[in-house]
């Protein structure tokens, strides 16, 4: 066998192996992609996207787009934004007392500053106080909630 033919033979063998393995590898990763995509679609039905607005009451505001498990509450959405949350559990649900180090302050027995939460009512296009604890409201897909540090006062 001449040197040229011999070289050609071995180059051909090498290219055959390379092309076959490249094709099979592509097929392997395609099947992995299809599998991952299917899993992703399944998981997507188990989670929802929500928007959380943090308002520190001093002009500092920030929007957070979070993905939470379906069935999560407005309080879960807050915990998705930050873990630095202090709260009390009461008979009515959780009451947030501090977020990111900003604590509720009672200036008088009937007034002060505290973290309150609001729900964005898309029909009226207004932030709405639902008058319930944050862990009592089950989020719907694409809901927007606001956590606002603001002054409060009430009278008996």
């Amino acid at each position: 066998m001449s040197i040229q033919r011999r070289t050609l033979l071995f180059v051909t063998l090498g290219l055959m192996v390379w092309s076959a393995m490249a094709t099979l590898t592509a097929a392997y990763y395609y099947t992995q992609y299809v599998e991952t995509r299917r899993t992703f679609e399944e998981l997507k039905s188990l989670v929802i996207d929500v928007n959380v607005l943090m308002d520190y009451g001093n002009g500092t505001q920030g929007w957070h787009n979070e993905t939470v498990i379906a069935g999560s509450t407005a309080f879960d959405a807050l915990l998705a934004v930050t873990k630095d949350v202090e709260y009390q559990t009461t008979a009515y649900g959780v009451f947030v007392t501090s977020i990111n180090g900003v604590k509720n302050v009672a200036e008088t027995p009937t007034s002060g500053r505290a973290w309150l939460w609001y729900y964005w009512n898309a029909t009226t296009s207004k932030w709405t106080d639902l008058l319930k604890a944050a862990d009592a409201y089950i989020l719907k897909p694409n809901d927007s909630v606001e956590w606002r540090y603001e002054g409060y006062s009430f009278s008996f």
């Binding site: 071995f10 063998l13 090498g14 192996v17 393995m21 099979l24 097929a27």
Partner: protein, 191 residues
């Protein structure tokens, strides 16, 4: 009066048989050791045995080692894949024999590249053949064509590891090993 040629041939056969037995034992020992999957020396030893002692000897060594491996492998009983493993290893031994007839044992870069390419090609063929066995096994629960495609695709990552390992091994070791084995045979015959 003894025929000197016949006595030389008898000595040669005894030496070859001895070498084949030792190689089979070494190969079997290596094959049965706990080791990472597809990191093996049986292909190389079958191929080299084929080159030095002829294709039949290479195929015989491959058959014996894979047969025992099929039952005692650290990865468990090979089952229906066993005949395919044997067939793959027979092919490697036979190709070793054919290559031995045209190979040059000079320590030249071209020869190292040739054995590297042969290592990759033969390992690829071996993996395709054994994946065929896996497809036969899987075909009990799905159509054979689907089983074959699944076996080929899912086996690609171990196969790449196998091909890379054997390419390196064949490329680096074949020529020096063949030279060493041939020298051993000649030296023993001369003494």
């Amino acid at each position: 009066m003894d025929n000197p040629t016949k006595s030389w041939e008898t000595a040669l056969n005894a030496q070859r048989l001895g070498l084949l037995s030792v190689l089979t034992a070494v190969c079997l020992g290596l094959q049965l050791l706990p080791r990472p999957m597809n990191i093996e020396f049986t292909s190389l030893i079958s191929f080299v045995t084929g080159m030095v002692l002829g294709g039949f000897s290479g195929a015989l060594l491959g058959t014996l080692v894979m047969f025992v491996n099929g039952f005692l492998s650290p990865y468990g009983f090979a089952g229906v894949v066993l005949p395919f493993q044997i067939a793959g290893m027979v092919l490697i031994g036979v190709v070793g024999g054919l290559y031995g007839k045209i190979a040059s044992n000079r320590l030249a870069a071209g020869n190292f590249v040739e054995t590297l390419v042969l290592g990759a090609f033969l390992t690829f063929i071996y993996d395709v053949v054994t994946n065929l066995g896996t497809a036969v096994y899987l075909s009990s629960s799905m159509p054979f064509s689907e089983a074959l495609i699944a076996a080929l695709i899912m086996g690609v990552i171990p196969s790449i590891m196998h091909i890379v390992w054997n390419s390196f091994l064949f490329g680096a070791v074949t020529i020096p090993l063949v030279n060493a084995m041939q020298k051993t045979l000649v030296r023993r015959l001369e003494t």
